[in-house]
């Protein structure tokens, strides 16, 4: 509640009422005509003057009483006015709301710090925010515990600067956080604040705390068994290098199907593969994977995985004029087989034209034939088939190799809206060495492009199936794409795109926005549906902020979507104090707060509101009482006009 309280003005108005009462109750000697003054004598004036003096004193005393009362109860307003006159900045208080703040004792300590900070600033305005990737306004009384999202301090500074730009005064920010090292962005310059004037960091950290994070994935290559790959990471809030023994256990229902002990030190990340786990006879191919031992952050100690890949797609590969290099075929086959996504089947042009049951094709075509693709291929696409065309330069006619960019150009354009979700892959390491200019066809859409304008991936809109062009020979000469993980990811996305006709991934991280196609529905792990079934044809953007196995419902089938935790949030290692000091420009040194400080008694802002609410009623009540007393006293003074009692 604002302390700027207009009711105090009523008190000021009431100040004038006693004056009016006294004014109207003044004793004028009424004038009246009389025939003659012959028998009259003037009254004794000293009696009247004495009586007037008494009234004036009474009036002054009562007015002073009322004035004092008004000033007393308007004190909060005066304080605020005084403070408002001295205000030189606006205070933001930002609470780190990322999942790592759920670590034992951190959130309680943060709440204590928040309350202490609000008390310290008194009635001064403190604008409270939470941050878990998005800066959101909050109130002290209703702030909730952190969720499962992650934080990036670069995003925090960017959003704070943007908000502070709209303020009329400089902004001082106090950030209560565990200052997680993993929340520091890759480009640390993003943490340099510009618009906000001052940043103070109050650290909350569990001293000597160790946390273990778990990631896992299950694959089945034969439809009978599954391999579960678990990644175990350990982090400590101190510099401990002690080794810890942990046990990873896989269960299905109440049955333990695998268990493995592992020794790990803080800061390490170890993988273990639990092989040949029999799949159940039912359609439920999910497993529970967990670390048996407890730690400070329980949320990342167990997860549920679903065995996928039991029915890999078949990708047919055709090469015109034997253009595909052996290396290219190896790269493609390796990528397709990764995680059992697909298998490769070599076919001939005759086979493609024979009408065999072929749905998806990877074709190696001479780059010269880009404008006039082989008829068998165009017919295949026109018939509804999907094709990925590798445009291979013909070495005999290629004279541009001498002009290639030796250093290579980075991928600078990534289509952010295409259903392939190319921006989810890391393209920063991909270099394109070709400098050959390319003119896209009108029906062609560039999806990936290097800094020197050479396209890497494009799609041509057709009346039939889907047609993509990869402008690379996949021999490692025109680009380093085949050696990058992004190549595997983009091939998997294409296989998924070709086979399922939707681009909903199997796994996403918590907090990530899911582009849910129309006529699909998502069921949360607790069984509640998300989103609405609409016929508008527009996809729905859903942010999934809880981990777990979600179910995607389509018209004819259903499949699983696993929302996993951000592994960075499992790392509870904090930024070094020196780094924190550098971040806040050494304006205010953050002080570590012990995790067991949660027992500190705090006073919430509600108490202040209650007191102010009472004042609103007390002032008019007292003022009215005083006026009533004044009126009563005027009527019962007991002093007559002639001065007698």
């Amino acid at each position: 509640m604002s302390i700027q309280w207009p009711w105090y003005l009523l008190g000021l108005v009431l100040l004038g009422l006693p004056w009016l009462l006294h004014l109207f109750s003044r004793h004028f000697a009424p004038e009246r005509p009389f025939p003659s003054k012959q028998f009259l004598e003037a009254a004794d004036p000293p009696k009247s003057r004495t009586r007037q003096l008494q009234y004036r004193l009474l009036f002054a005393l009562r007015t002073l009483m009322l004035l004092a009362l008004c000033v007393l109860f308007a004190m909060p307003w005066f304080n605020r006015t005084q403070q408002a006159g001295d205000v030189t900045h606006i205070n933001y208080l930002v609470m780190d709301h990322s999942m790592s703040m759920r670590s034992e004792g951190r959130w309680e300590s943060a709440i204590d710090l928040m309350n202490a900070h609000i008390r310290e600033l008194g009635d001064e305005d403190v604008q409270l925010f939470t941050f878990d990737g998005v800066l959101e306004a909050a109130t002290a009384g209703t702030i909730t515990a952190p969720g499962f999202l992650s934080a990036d301090y670069g995003d925090l500074i960017r959003q704070l600067d943007a908000r502070a730009a709209n303020e009329s005064l400089p902004v001082h920010v106090t950030f209560i956080s565990d200052v997680q090292q993993t929340s520091v962005p890759a480009h640390k310059n993003a943490m340099l604040y510009g618009t906000i004037e001052q940043l103070a960091i109050k650290r909350v950290a569990n001293l000597d705390a160790v946390n273990f994070g778990l990631r896992a994935a299950a694959r089945s290559f034969d439809g009978v068994h599954a391999n579960i790959k678990a990644t175990l990471s350990a982090s400590a809030s101190n510099d401990s290098s002690q080794a810890f023994e942990r046990t990873v256990e896989v269960t299905q229902g109440d049955r333990v199907v695998a268990s493995r002990a592992i020794s790990i030190r803080a800061g390490e990340s170890k993988e273990l593969v639990l092989e040949q786990i029999p799949l159940p006879a039912s359609n439920d191919t999910s497993f529970d994977v967990r670390i048996l031992e407890d730690d400070v952050l329980a949320q990342d100690n167990q997860l549920q995985v679903v065995a996928i890949g039991s029915n890999p797609e078949i990708m047919s590969v055709i090469q015109y004029n034997d253009l595909a290099s052996p290396a290219a075929l190896v790269f493609v086959e390796t990528a397709l087989r990764a995680d059992g996504v697909a298998t490769m089947n070599m076919i001939t042009e005759a086979g493609l034209s024979s009408g065999e049951s072929i749905s998806h094709v990877i074709a190696f075509v001479d780059k010269q034939d880009r404008s006039a693709l082989p008829a068998s291929l165009t017919d295949f696409v026109a018939a509804g088939g999907n094709a990925l065309v590798m445009l291979v330069p013909n070495t005999s006619s290629d004279n541009n190799s001498a002009d290639d960019d030796i250093k290579g150009s980075e991928i600078t354009f990534i289509d952010p809206v295409h259903a392939l979700a190319l921006n989810r892959s890391d393209w920063s390491s991909v270099k394109v060495y070709s400098n050959e200019p390319y003119t896209a066809r009108p029906s062609e859409q560039i999806l990936l492009q290097s800094a020197n304008g050479v396209p890497l991936l494009s799609e041509e809109i057709t009346e039939g199936g889907r047609l993509f062009f990869l402008h690379d020979a996949l021999d490692g000469n025109s680009s380093n794409l085949p050696q990058q993980a992004a190549f595997v990811e983009v091939l998997h996305s294409l296989v998924n795109y070709f086979s399922t006709h939707d681009l909903v991934p199997n796994v996403i991280e918590v907090g990530e926005t899911l582009n849910l196609p129309p006529r699909m529905r998502l069921i949360r792990p607790d069984g509640n549906a998300i989103g609405q079934l609409t016929d508008s044809g527009k996809p729905q953007l859903l942010q999934l902020d809880e981990p777990g196995i979600y179910t995607l419902l389509e018209q004819t089938r259903e499949r699983s979507l696993r929302v996993r935790l951000d592994p960075a949030e499992s790392d509870i290692a904090a930024m070094p104090i020196a780094a924190t000091d550098a971040w806040q420009s050494r304006a205010i040194l953050g002080e570590p707060v012990a995790g067991d400080a949660a027992s500190t008694t705090v006073t919430t802002g509600n108490d202040v509101s209650i007191r102010q609410d009472i004042w609103q009623y007390l002032l008019p009540l007292f003022a009215v009482l005083l006026l009533l007393e004044s009126m009563f006293a005027n009527r019962h003074l007991g002093i007559k006009r002639d001065g007698s009692i």
């Binding site: 004038e31 025939p35 003054k37 004598e41």
Partner: protein, 301 residues
């Protein structure tokens, strides 16, 4: 005063009469109301009614010698008649500012009703009517005359008389000796504000001239018993001076002063043989008129 007179008073309240407007009509209403039903006419002592014999002195008019008495007793006597002794009626009206006081009619209005009634009565008895109005001096005068239009002239002057400025009652009365050279009845209607001794002295001048004087002292009830409950400012109507008075003084001091003044006036009038009749403006006019008739009867005997 007879009981019947009191009964008439029920119909002749001054504030009721004031609605008649015309002084002539008011006078006739009062006089006719008073005389109606009386056993004896008030027209006494006038015309040729015998009053007394007096021995002839040198200088007396020979026409008034009763020759019959002279034939029987060889002595000469002068024969006198009542109607010849009080045939001039001089009406005096105080029009000082203090006479403008009173509600619902002022003392001056009441005084004019009295004088109009007396004039009407005198006119019916063939008296010579004269009127003098005065405030700080004589402001209007009609010489006593028995002409037929004397009544209308008197009423006309009364009608025009308004409350004037201050008062100088004693000096004005004292100066009237010049004007009132014909002995008769003098009727003074006033509130008699002024020093009592001065007023008595002035009236003595008139009595020495042989005038028979009757004074109607017209007062409002508020003057006799002022109702001042709080500290009040009283404004003198004659001087416009303001006097802040205490209710306690009104209760005690005022009444004593007023009583002393009234007593001094009454004593002086008794000593001079002047009839002083105090009337209140809320008193019925016929009551006042009866007092006048009583006065005339006493004088006639």
């Amino acid at each position: 005063m007879s009981k019947s007179a009191n009964n008439y008073g029920r119909w002749l309240k001054p504030d009721v009469l004031a609605r008649l407007g015309s002084l002539d009509l008011i006078a006739r209403t009062v006089v006719d109301g008073v005389t109606h039903g009386m056993h004896r006419s008030p027209n006494f002592g006038h015309s040729q009614d015998f009053a007394e014999y007096r021995a002839y002195n040198d200088g007396d008019d020979l026409r008034f010698i009763d020759w019959n008495v002279y034939a029987r007793s060889d002595k000469m006597f002068i024969k006198r008649y009542r109607g010849e002794t009080n045939s001039a009626v001089n009406l005096l009206l105080d029009t000082s500012a203090s006479m403008g006081y009173g509600e619902p009619i002022s003392k001056l209005d009441y005084a004019r009703y009295i004088l109009a009634s007396l004039a009407y009565m005198g006119h019916r008895q063939k008296d010579a009517l004269g009127l003098i109005t005065m405030d700080e001096g004589v402001s209007g005068q009609i010489e006593p005359t028995s002409r037929t239009d004397s009544l209308s002239r008197v009423l006309g002057l009364l009608d025009k008389s308004d409350a004037g400025k201050g008062t100088a009652l004693a000096t004005t009365i004292e100066s009237l000796g010049v004007h009132l050279n014909r002995r008769g009845v003098v009727v003074l209607v006033s509130d008699l504000y002024g020093e009592a001794s001065d007023i008595i002295t002035a009236l003595q001048t008139l009595t020495h001239l042989g005038h028979e004087i009757i004074i109607f002292r017209v007062l409002a009830a508020e003057e006799i018993n002022p109702t001042v409950k709080s500290l009040s400012t009283l404004v003198d109507l004659e001087t416009s001076e303001k006097v802040i008075v205490d209710p306690e003084f009104i209760k005690r001091g005022y009444k004593k002063s007023f009583g002393d003044h009234t007593e001094a006036l009454e004593q002086g009038c008794r000593r001079l043989g002047i009839d002083l009749v105090t009337v209140q403006i809320d008193q019925a006019l016929d009551d006042t008129l009866h007092q006048y008739i009583q006065f005339r009867e006493q004088r006639a005997q």
